[in-house]
């Protein structure tokens, strides 16, 4: 018998990984130069969480999937044009600042409040998904803070796999040190799962899914609540680009034997 799940995926938007980033400090604190015009994508690990969630929801008929995302409305709309074509979901947009410098505790408070207010959410059936770290702040704490605020006491981080059983319990594989997974069994929902890459490939764009999603996404974006994030006494002493620029020595004229000999010497050198 399939289990009915209520899956909420928390996913932010981040600058496309191939963009060059330059930090600047403005009146409201640090940010990125031209942040609003940088191409953005759904946070990569959170995107993995979304695809895993959609897969789980599809295998368990009657399940529901929400995507909660905090960011500037206009940026969210841009990113959703692509994401909406991947898998079916209901968007819960929150109009707020972009970037990695706002405090994670404030972000978590806003997300938890929005999730708690979802009218059709049955918290007993809740699986709270997200990336185990964002590609912006990369703190790996937001999901745990949201989970605590929602009173959930079973958390898993660095998740690569969830196997749901007929009785509602599930096995989780979490990344731990040394390239291994810790295997745990939880008796059932509710639980928090911070995803690493998982095992699913990125779904292909499906225009039909996109059209169905956009019917609800556009009205949701129009009604998105604005959120202001508190600094919680977090202050930035400095924000800068790393200064490590190496003087690269390009070796073009050595034979494989000569290169190998050099490498052996280098490997053995203390």
């Amino acid at each position: 018998m399939a289990n009915i799940l209520h899956i909420v995926v928390c996913a932010g938007i981040v600058p496309d990984p191939l963009q060059t980033l330059e930090p600047i400090t403005g009146p409201s604190g640090p940010g990125l130069k031209n942040e609003m015009v940088l191409p953005a994508v759904l946070d990569p690990w959170a995107a993995c969480a979304l695809y895993e969630a959609a897969n789980l929801a599809a295998k368990n008929p009657g399940s529901k999937l929400w995507l909660v995302s905090l960011g500037p409305k206009a940026k969210l709309q841009q990113v959703m044009m692509t994401v909406a074509q991947k898998v079916p979901f209901e968007l819960v947009p929150i109009d707020g600042p972009i970037g990695g410098f706002p405090d994670a505790h404030s972000t978590a408070a806003v997300l938890a409040e929005s999730i708690a207010a979802l009218p059709d959410l049955d918290r007993a059936k809740l699986l709270l998904f997200g990336g185990w770290e964002s590609a912006t702040r990369g703190a790996g704490v937001t999901l745990q803070l949201v989970g605590e605020r929602l009173g959930i006491t079973d958390h898993f981080q660095g998740v690569d796999e969830i196997s749901l059983r007929e009785d509602g319990s599930f096995e989780v594989l979490e990344r731990v040190e040394g390239g291994k997974h810790q295997v745990s069994v939880c008796v059932g929902t509710p639980a928090v799962l911070g995803w690493a890459t998982g095992n699913l490939a990125e779904p292909r764009n499906n225009p039909q899914v996109g059209m169905a999603n956009m019917r609800t996404i556009m009205p949701a974006l129009a009604k998105a609540k604005a959120a202001k994030l508190d600094s919680n006494s977090l202050s930035y002493v400095s924000v800068s680009l790393p200064k490590q620029q190496r003087e690269t020595h390009v070796v073009k004229d050595l034979t494989p034997d000569q290169i190998a000999a050099e490498l052996i010497e280098w490997i053995g050198a203390e």
């Binding site: 803070l145 202050s235 930035y236 190496r246």
Partner: protein, 342 residues
């Protein structure tokens, strides 16, 4: 005055301390000395006696939450254990290693205590206050942060401090009692990737990065995946290096193509992978930005073998780039390593 608490935990044996925990002890000792603050060490372990002995020479106050329930890493039990230690220590600054165990629970504990948390700390500085250095945007932007509100949790990245190495001695530990909630999660053990031997070795001196070029057509118009596998695994066997991979190569494995069978997403370095710390790194057949910029951020001495003399991502990122075909080079390297062994 600050009260500094260093949280540490036992490794899989249930009693010995992990290297990351000993590094956090060093960080705590240094910070306490600099701020003239009190230092407490809180241990979470099945059996805390030997862990406490190992850090007894710090002279810190030692307390522990011990018992069978704490043999394994689980949110519900670890969160009450660490919360209790923080409350008894009346800690204002809590340092902990950024291990998978503490990364899972520390934010929850910070919330329960009404405190705040920052993670991936690489440097603890500041003159009279505490300033912490960490990276943003996947190791692309570095920032120094501070907070005036306490308690403040700081999770330290592994490899950023020397491991504490004091003389082990018997010591009295304050055992802190906790009331466990009903536990809904059971940890049943660990599982290594099924693809064969373990290729991820965090303590290795060298990181070997395999790029997608290993699976591309070679000058004879054929792909040589079997040969590539043998060369890579042979090098890992001979040197004890850890294996990292570019995203494109790992993704090919996930899409069911005939590629290097021992690679999983756990090997992936870069934007959606890890940023490991090793003294040396050798990149082969790898042309993307991610392994070189993000994945290599904490690699000391870097060399690359690439066919592309104009690869913009190795320029400025690697110390030496050899413009050559990695297949014959690595075959010769392996042969020399083998001869050296004999």
């Amino acid at each position: 005055m600050e009260n500094i608490l260093v949280l540490i935990h036992a490794d899989e044996s249930g009693s010995a301390l992990s290297k990351a925990s000993l590094e956090a002890v060093t960080a705590g000792k240094e910070l306490a000395a600099r701020l003239s603050a009190s230092l407490t060490i809180g241990i979470v372990a099945k059996d805390s006696a030997s862990a406490a002995s190992a850090v007894a020479s710090t002279g810190a106050r030692l307390m522990a939450v011990s018992g069978e329930a704490f043999a394994q890493a689980r949110y519900a039990s670890d969160v009450v254990a660490t919360e209790a230690l923080c409350r008894v220590a009346k800690a204002t600054i809590i340092l902990a290693p950024g291990t998978s165990r503490f990364a899972r629970v520390a934010a929850g504990v910070a919330h329960r205590l009404g405190g705040f948390i920052d993670t991936h700390i690489t440097v603890l500085g500041g003159a009279e206050s505490v300033e912490a250095t960490r990276w943003f945007y996947r190791q692309r932007v570095e920032a120094v942060i501070s907070r005036s509100v306490r308690p403040w949790f700081l999770l330290l990245d592994a490899g950023t401090h020397a491991a504490f190495a004091g003389k082990s001695q018997p010591v009295q530990i304050e055992q802190v009692a906790v009331e466990l909630p009903a536990l809904r999660t059971t940890v049943s053990g660990f599982r290594a990737p099924e693809q064969g031997q373990q290729t991820i070795r965090p303590d290795a001196k060298m990181l070997f990065v395999a790029g997608a070029g290993w699976t591309k057509k070679q000058p004879d118009g054929q792909v040589h995946v079997g040969e590539a596998s043998e060369l890579i695994l042979g090098f890992l066997r001979a040197t004890g290096a850890s294996l990292g991979s570019s995203k494109s190569l790992v993704d090919q494995s996930g899409e069911g193509n005939s590629v290097l069978p021992f690679l999983t997403h756990l090997n992936q370095i870069g934007q959606t992978g890890s940023t490991p710390r090793h003294a040396k790194g050798l990149s082969t057949c790898c042309h993307g930005e991610e392994p070189h910029v993000v994945g290599w951020r904490f690699i000391g001495d870097r060399r690359a073998i690439s066919l592309d003399p104009n690869c913009g991502w190795t320029r400025g990122k690697a110390d030496v780039v050899y413009i050559a075909d990695a297949f014959p080079v690595m075959a010769k390297v392996n042969a020399l390593l083998e001869a050296k062994k004999r």
